[in-house]
Amino acid sequence: MIEVKAVEKKFGRKKILKGVSFTANKGEITCLIGINGVGKTTILNAIMALTPINKGQILIDGKRLDKTTFEKITFIPDVITMLPQMTIAEAMEFMNDFYTCWNQERATELLEFFRLNLSDRIASLSKGNTAKVNLLLGLALDVDYVLMDEPFSGIDMFSREEIANVFTSHLIENRGVIITTHEVGDIEHLIDKVVLLDDGIVTKEFSAEEARENEGKSVIDVMREVYKR
């Protein structure tokens, strides 16, 4: 389980996170939702120790992040994490070199799934294909948790569908996923848990299925209630 406990973060004098707390379980898809600038990406960066927090604590399976945690959790940001001059094959080789949890078989499967070419240079890829390479490099790791930052942002409809298909496949099964997205519609039916953020705090944390079954509301309905208050 990923536990984010009372996390506070300031950029200069501006407090972006004012005590954010939530949990994300293994085997569930947790979606962080909030308007731009609310601190969704900052939360993901903080979980991966890519930015320091001012207060609070983040635990992954009860432990603070250390170097070994990166064999257990991966982050797929909305920017490419490899050198643009690398080919996809070189990027995969790099991952294989450094991560013992790299699963070459799955990487090949993802390569075919996304119809990517090994010899293509990352710099020459479209935004959609760059996002797919990012997903490939993250999902081919045999990790327990996957963090995804806006995987659908600025991507064409067909690529979005392909990426959304990943969530219903075995590639995600049994893993804990935290995803931030504006395009809730693309994956609404797949989300297990929703964390709504506003003004640096969690305004609502709920199970998407319970909201559907007990209240007959979709995630978007609940969002409307919370944000249009």
């Binding site: 991966m48 490419i80 994490t81």
Partner: protein
């Protein structure tokens, strides 16, 4: 250790083009320099001997034989060396900033590698060292080639042949980059690495705290400089030459090791706890 070596190899592959370019520029400029300097000497000799009817003996008495030092002191020789030093100096900053700036967001991957983040620091500083030693070694290899070109161009009686050692010892500025003893090598390159480690720490301060980090980096660099010169300062101005030279050297080495250890520790702390992508 394995991950450190992999990172060193990876970082080296990234500088391979820049490194090869520096080697190429050095080689071409220095060879051109040998040709230009030799031809200029020979044309002067021809002018004096054939046009002004000066005897060979007279010419040699007035203008002397040509030695490699004339080439080594020219801009053709020292220019590329200065260019390489500037290149390495520039690279000390580029080696970090290129992972953050523009479309390069490789720092995400580097910081998410399942290895201690200090290995990033070690691999980058090792590459600066490899690059420096590589350039110096290349310089030592091409000097004999350049001498050979000079030998081919300038007749025996007009030139004075010198060994690499003799050239280096005749030029103190060259002696810094090509030390003639192992102690000098350790001291000069140790001091160089110390400066690089201070700069790396200052860069990481900037990357961690941005604007405030620039000031912190400048203050840290100034404090490190004060600590490093404090033994010499005390020796000269407070204790009126109290220390023997060897004691002063040992004190300087101790101060250098303290600053180095502090830089490494601080860099490790910043990379682990304060860095921001």
């Amino acid at each position: 250790m394995k991950n450190y070596l992999k990172l060193v190899n990876f970082e080296f592959n990234r500088i391979a083009i820049l490194f090869s370019a520096l080697l190429g520029i050095t080689f071409v400029a220095q060879i051109v320099g040998v040709i230009v300097q030799s031809r200029s000497y020979l044309s002067m000799a021809n002018e004096k001997i054939y046009d002004e009817m000066m005897s060979k003996a007279q010419f040699l008495e007035i203008f002397g034989q040509m030695s490699f030092l004339q080439i080594a002191r020219s801009v053709w020789f020292m220019g590329p060396i200065a260019f390489c030093i500037a290149g390495v100096g520039f690279y000390i900053f580029l080696i970090w900033y290129r992972d953050w700036i523009g479309k390069n967001t490789f720092i995400y991957r580097l910081l998410m590698l399942p290895t201690t983040r200090l290995n990033i620091f070690y691999s980058k500083i090792t590459n600066i060292l490899i690059m420096t030693f590589g350039l110096v070694a290349f310089q030592l290899i091409i000097i004999p080639i350049e001498m050979l070109v000079m030998k081919v161009m300038v007749p025996n009686e007009f030139r004075r042949d010198m060994g690499v050692n003799e050239i280096v010892s005749s030029m103190p500025e060259l002696g810094i980059i090509i030390p003639t003893s192992i102690v000098e090598l350790i001291l000069y390159y140790g001091a160089g690495m110390l400066v690089v480690s201070i700069l790396f720490t200052a860069i990481l301060m900037e990357r961690s705290y941005r604007w405030k980090g620039i000031f912190a980096g400048l203050i840290y660099s100034a404090v490190a400089a004060v600590v490093l010169i404090s033994p010499v300062f005390l020796h000269e101005f407070v204790l009126n030459g109290f220390f023997y030279p060897i004691e002063l050297l040992i004190l300087e080495i101790v101060m250098g090791l303290i600053v180095l250890a502090l830089s490494v520790w601080l860099s490790g702390f910043l990379l682990k706890n304060k860095i921001t992508v």
